[in-house]
Symmetry: C2
Subunit: 361 residues, 2 copies
Amino acid sequence: MSGRFSVTYLVRSDAAGIEARARGIAVEQSVEMPVEAIDDAAVLSDIVGVVEAIEPAGEGVFAVRIGLALDTVGTDAGQLTNMLFGNTSLQDDVVLHDVDLPPLFGGPSKGLAALRSRLGVTGRAFTGSALKPQGLPLERLALLAERFALGGLDFIKDDHGLADQHYSRAAKRIPAVAEAVARAIRVTGHPTRYIPSLSGDLDAMRAQLLLARDCGLDCAMLAPMIAGFSTLQTLAGEFPDFVLFAHPALGGAARISPDLLIGKLFPAFGAGGAIFPNYGGRFGYSTDTCHRLAENARAADSLPVPAGGMTLARTTEILDFYGPDTMLLIGGNLLMARERITEEAAQFAQAVADHPYGQRG
Amino acid sequence: MSGRFSVTYLVRSDAAGIEARARGIAVEQSVEMPVEAIDDAAVLSDIVGVVEAIEPAGEGVFAVRIGLALDTVGTDAGQLTNMLFGNTSLQDDVVLHDVDLPPLFGGPSKGLAALRSRLGVTGRAFTGSALKPQGLPLERLALLAERFALGGLDFIKDDHGLADQHYSRAAKRIPAVAEAVARAIRVTGHPTRYIPSLSGDLDAMRAQLLLARDCGLDCAMLAPMIAGFSTLQTLAGEFPDFVLFAHPALGGAARISPDLLIGKLFPAFGAGGAIFPNYGGRFGYSTDTCHRLAENARAADSLPVPAGGMTLARTTEILDFYGPDTMLLIGGNLLMARERITEEAAQFAQAVADHPYGQRG
């Protein structure tokens, strides 16, 4: 089956109909036309998708493995996604479940390993928090960042709602927060990283990354479902020294398994960190999904970052679950501390440092 | 409620819990943190989302209208989408149902009206077909385009699977097909439009549009869910003379109403044509959804283009349903005619021209 890669879909069907339905998906995701109207032998043998396997996957669902031609994808992340699920996403009996990615989509140039080395953090998980709420004047966002950093956190990210609004223009926010974090680093000696959120089109994000680099930063964040898959791929290629964190915004709105979309595809397109909604918070992901997602990300040297409704009280449980190769991102719960934010951040950092790793991970 | 715009979500909840859930969405889609941790009066009054209305919408579902601050959006289509559904897309009890769009997102500069004027087509629907299968050598794609155009079709679009593959590089495909269609136009006198499919990142799409313009074209297509919303917006702004058709690939986002996503948002971001899966074909959209989607598109001067498993035999029924302000896109079914494609295309064009419009539309 050379020249092809395998894609697995979960398809709702009865046993009598599944073979035809599987062929339908193979056609939809390749030539998208009646095969009997094709008279070109090379297209029939090399381009039309083939059904490689059909297996029962419980209660009226089948796992259908389709071999798609590498030639139909080329080198573009957007086109890969188009071939994986473009039209079939519009048919509600199918979930895109898994992909054996073509070697070309090999993951970030800088990810988990680079972060361990840059921050000098070994044997424990990373800590992070977020700058919120949007609408605060720049000075207050910068002050908040400084206080988080004084508490010894590893990462401070922009809220993903921070874009280029008049109250916190990216061109001013990135230098102001970078400088505030640098001040704290001079006190703590710990190389805390600020992760600015990129927004706008490719040109705007590129300008923001250039500015971030000028400010001495080497991390940034974007939401691939909003920005576009090719945008992530291009920026990862143009800024190979940056660790790009993928934010999952809009990522729940398609029938793609989260462990695939967030844990495998985003890293494959260049994300060195993958932020995702943790189980047991205010989002609906199961422990199984979170476990697989984190494993997928690590396999691509991408740092798994559970987030969303995380609390200090859950630190031990979450570290037991994910082990050391992870970042715990606690946003709102830390902010509740208001004037005691630095102390609270320090307590969080200490808990993560003191955790007895080793049972897992 | 000045400075805000309204977003409606359909939320699964019991009556006892809906008020708290609605407040939760208002917070998630604005500041995304515990409101009690916010001490800035301006953020509390001007930035935090507000619940404007909660109404029963049948069987355990409520329509929740939230007022979001215009300031949080600014001018970027990606950030608008982020504020509409970024995090809430990850919570599976919510569907993004409708938006009163901020005036800034006003629709395409060229759409339905421009197409009527450019093609000199009045009082009837438009006809279109697609170049397939991908994998054919360029010469065969060009020949196919010429034969469609000789049949008198209004539009010939690239299959959305055609990207920048080695067998049909965009840099060669666009001029070759444009020239083939131009040859047919010299025979028919009918100003058939070729709609090339754009792929890659913003830079690549921009280069493809410049090439298309050099070839005398004024239409193109892209898939906003794959390319990114800001990419569509930027290209629509930079190429105001082009009619950009939005392809729905990856748009089966189960939890954004298709009449909103495809019919309203894509046009708002600059799509002058909106391709969508027709009812009764191989996709699952209902007649109600298709009707609302088409109405939304027309309201923004965007041409509704039902497609997907359309057949010549259904022409009358579909025209009765959509009326004249539409394009019928018949792909695979026309291709079944093989050597008789020009004749079949001519028959299709004739059927659409002869249809007795007027009962609807």
